[in-house]
């Protein structure tokens, strides 16, 4: 069955550094991957989408990569700020299904 995995451990980084989050998928080839941000008690909010024929996508301080050989997507936040602290969810779409990973909690310390 389709499976998507994210680092279950929280990521703690210092303000100004680059945060890198990992998303791995197995048993299928998604048409695209998405990244969402979720704050406590709120619904997920869309950040970026990258298609299988794209290697990299950028939006302001955010960058997403898609490596179909490694079956992995990396999500980068450059010049991180305490306001970036949240849970980041990876989602993959393929075979008429969108499935979500469990998310990685990011803490940015001032």
């Amino acid at each position: 069955s389709q499976k998507i995995e994210q680092n279950s451990e929280a990521l703690n980084i210092q303000e100004g550094k680059t945060a890198t989050l990992t998303c791995n998928y197995t048993n299928y080839s998604p048409a695209y991957l998405q990244w969402y941000r979720q704050d406590p008690g709120r619904g997920p909010v869309f950040l970026l989408l990258i298609r299988e024929n794209e290697k990299e996508k950028r939006k302001e301080r955010l960058k997403v990569t898609f490596d179909t050989t490694l079956k992995q997507s990396l999500f980068h936040i450059t010049a991180s700020q305490p306001a970036d602290s949240a849970t980041y969810l990876c989602a993959s779409t393929g075979g008429f299904k969108t499935i979500f990973g469990a998310g990685t909690r990011l803490f940015v310390k001032a």
Binding site: Y32, Q34, Y36, G41, R42, G43, P44, V45, F46, L49, L89, A91, T93, F96, K97, T98, I99, F100, G101, A102, G103
Partner: protein
């Protein structure tokens, strides 16, 4: 433009009681999703509607869960009877179509606690 609206935000019930959640998607969005999110987990799809048709309900526990989307707009998700394991956040999301931009717009969720 208003986002996806869900109600109630919080609901506490005793097991075996019924409960219903309501969702109003973004205007013009044909696709509507109900997800369940357990603590520390990602959202899991329960059902997806294309207009008023349920096109994917493979993960919906049909013995106790039911959903409807009348006239292809608002949707209601019902649980009867509720069990302790149903405690979770129920998220509604919408998109123009499933294969359009891929972006899902989520509501704030309905947090259910079953005692």
């Amino acid at each position: 433009e208003a986002g996806v609206v869900q109600s109630p935000r919080y609901k506490i019930i005793e097991k075996k009681q019924p409960v219903a959640f309501w969702c109003n998607p973004i205007s013009g969005h044909n696709t509507l999703y109900w997800y369940r999110q357990n603590l520390g987990q990602g959202p899991e799809l329960l059902i997806r509607y294309e207009n008023e048709e349920a096109v994917d309900d493979s993960q919906l526990p049909k013995d106790r869960f039911s959903a409807e989307r009348l006239k292809g707009v608002d949707s209601t998700l019902k649980i009867q009877p509720a069990e302790l394991g149903d405690s979770a956040v129920y998220l509604c999301a919408s998109s123009f179509t499933f294969w359009d931009t891929g972006e899902l717009f989520f509501g704030e969720g309905s947090r259910l606690t079953v005692l």
